[in-house]
Amino acid sequence: MSLEIDHVTKRFAATTALDGLTFTVPQGEVFGFLGANGAGKTTTMRICLGIIRADGGEIRWDGRPTADLPRGTWGYLPEERGLYPRMGVLDQLVYFGSLYGLAPDRARRDAIGWLERFRIPELAGRRAEELSKGNQQKVQFIAAVLHDPAVLLMDEPFTGLDPVNLILLRGAFMELRDRGRTLIFSTHQMEVAEAMCESVAIVDHGRLVAGGLVRDLKRASGRRTLRLAASGDLAPSWLSELPGVESVRQDAGGAELELLPEADPAVILAAVVAHGVMVTRFEVAEPSLEAIFIEHVGRSADDDTTLAPRAAAAPLSAGTAA
């Protein structure tokens, strides 16, 4: 059982939103759908939900076209968050649950269970307009999962959450995954995707530019990240001049160097020591998901401007992200 996005194309006037997008999401996974703004993530989700129609291609769940699936197959947490401002929290959860086919009594019981799980049972009778943004977000998440959908589509679910709520939401993700639910979410926060997703699809300009298991993507990259801490000068100006170093990111603990495939860490270590710096940490790691994203898209997910020429964008057809 899997969700298959099969050569889906969608045009809006002169703009091509999706250009033969193809990938597969296995059942029971937490799947990251990554891309910069305008890459086509929301359009893909809306086509899954039947809100808009694809111009070409097909989306299937368990081999059945989405048009043949009941609406309750899906749960959707949109990027644009909103609730009925003057309606009580529990009332609107029951309302949305009823629209997905839940009996009101069961919707009420399950909604109270979710509110307790998110530590906000006292908000059941409050109007949505009285809630903080984070609590509104939790209520919206409950509205999306209350009917226990097989596939949960979420557009930027972690945006605006404080660390405590982030942990709560991650816990809910894992619990749903363990119950066999398939979770697909888009995000700009690569570290979150890296921590939670077994597989990802990276899209750019409506096409898949990289996809599959995260560990496979890292291996295939051939790049490595060198984490360096030292007492002394770790200025990017000279670090970036070292042989095999592609880019340098400095932080409070030291510097993170993205290495080219042909780089030799031992040569770099020798160069740093020769610079007169006392090295306290030297770690060669796989590249971060963000580095892979930049490698394929040419810019970070938060950046709307292109920093480098676009990576080769031939549709991929192998692996988990087909």
């Binding site: 809100i51 808009i52 989405t66 949109p78 644009e80 949305f96 999306a144």
Partner: protein, 439 residues
């Protein structure tokens, strides 16, 4: 998925939420109360008009080529029409009729046409000596006043005959005067003539109904549009579009808000109907038995209320669908006023045509507009209230209206489905068309 989703139960769930949201608002309750009071005043309008009529003097003119005959007629008509209550003229009693000689027949006709005269009694002596009496009036021959004047005509004939008897013992044969009623601009109710008072009260009520219809359609239509716009601006629409199809949402909104409107309508109509049930007693209490007895109050009837209900529901459905589609194209409720203006103007055209119809004008355009949506709810309602309309005309108007609603529903659903996904774009015809093609 959207295309094959059945309307129920989701449309019903949406409708229930919309209904509760509206009917529980303080504004709804306040507006219902005010409109109910207005409807009760409308129900009492005929009694009020009759009460006013009681305090005014009704003028009857007598026209004859024979001045002496005219003089005799004035005296007799005055004695027949101005009968004090219980036969006793109290000091405070004021005769309700003024009977006067009109020497200029053309001027009298003009005064009749402008309602300054209630009628003109024409007297002519034929070559045989028989009197020919005709009464020109807005009323039909069956009205109480026309009947009283037929008695007066006989009396005038007797007095005239006796006044012209020769001094000798020779006798001329008495010929009973001929009497007829010439009605002008006769208003009818199901083929039955209406008195000027009744016709006036009916026209007044027609205006009240058409105004209520306009207000209801525009206000409830704007409820629909603003509800959609609010869902967009609060972004809850994003959750809704995945939970229910556009068809379900649109139908639910229109039905839910329409039901709220119908609730308000029933709350308004019920007390008015109760007043109608006690109309005779109220009239007797207010006007006294002499003025209330035998009077026919044809203002607000259950049939007219039913007609109003039908045209309200159908008219609302038609306009609400378009309002919903418009509401889906604005990102902020503030933009709604501008976008809804053309639709409000269309409703105004229907309303103004109905007002023209109530005044008896408009001719072919009024007839045409009474069949064509979106004008027909206003204009056919007006025609029903003030003139004789054939049953097939009403049926045809309703059938065309229902067909129009079906067509508009298809287009509105498509526009709604497209519009709810548009954010941050200026609403316009081009955006409507482009977005509808994208879905």
């Amino acid at each position: 998925m959207a295309g094959r989703d059945p309307l129920l139960p989701n449309a019903g769930i949406v409708a229930r939420r919309e209904y509760r949201d509206r009917t529980r608002s303080p504004l709804f309750l306040a507006a219902t109360f005010v409109l109910a009071v207005l409807a009760m005043l409308a129900a009492l309008a005929p009694i009020g008009m009759r009460s006013l009529d009681r305090q005014t003097v009704t003028r009857i003119a007598v026209v004859s080529g024979d001045a002496a005959l005219a003089q005799r007629a004035v005296g007799l008509v005055d004695s027949v029409l101005n009968v004090p209550p219980n036969g006793v003229a109290d000091p405070g009693w004021k005769p309700p009729y003024s009977v006067e000689i009109a020497t200029d027949a053309a001027r009298a006709d003009a005064q009749l046409a402008s309602s300054r005269l209630a009628g003109i009694l024409h007297l002519e002596r034929l070559a045989t000596g028989q009197l020919d009496v005709s009464f020109r009036t807005f009323e039909g021959p069956a009205s109480a006043r026309s009947q009283l004047l037929s008695l007066a005509a006989f009396g005038i004939g007797v007095i005239d005959w006796s006044a012209r008897l020769p001094p000798s013992d020779a006798r001329t044969q008495f010929l009973v005067p001929t009497y007829r009623v010439d009605t002008v601009n006769l208003a009818t109710d199901a083929g039955k003539a209406l008195s000027p008072l009744q016709a006036t009260s009916r026209a007044f009520l027609a205006i009240v109904f058409v105004v209520l219809l306009l207000i209801s359609i525009v206000i409830y239509g704007m409820w629909v549009a603003s509800g959609v716009a609010a869902e967009k601006s609060s972004r809850v629409m994003e959750l809704m579009i995945s939970a229910a199809s556009p068809r379900q949402m649109l139908a639910g909104k229109v039905v839910g808000i329409g039901a709220a409107g119908l609730t308000q309508y029933l709350a308004i109509a019920a007390p008015a109907l109760v007043l109608l049930g006690f109309q005779d007693r109220i009239a007797t209490a207010v006007l006294g038995p002499d003025w209330a007895a035998g009077s026919q109050f044809v203002g607000l009837t259950p049939q007219l209320l039913f007609g109003y209900g039908v045209f309200f529901l159908l008219g609302f459905a038609l306009f609400a669908l378009i309002y919903a589609a418009m509401g889906s194209f604005v990102s902020r409720p503030d933009d709604l006023q501008t976008l809804s203006l053309p639709l409000s103007l269309v409703a105004m055209v229907g309303y103004l045509t109905a007002i023209v119809a109530i005044g008896g004008g408009g001719g072919a355009w009024v007839t045409f507009a009474s069949f064509v949506p979106p004008f027909s709810p206003f204009v056919m309602l007006a025609r029903i209230m003030v003139s004789a309309v054939q049953p097939w005309e009403v049926v045809l108007s309703v059938v065309l209206l229902v067909a129009g609603i079906a067509l508009v529903a298809v287009a509105a659903t498509r526009m709604y489905a497209a519009g709810v996904l548009l954010y941050g774009q200026r609403p316009g015809i081009r955006a409507f068309v482009a977005a509808a093609r994208r879905v």
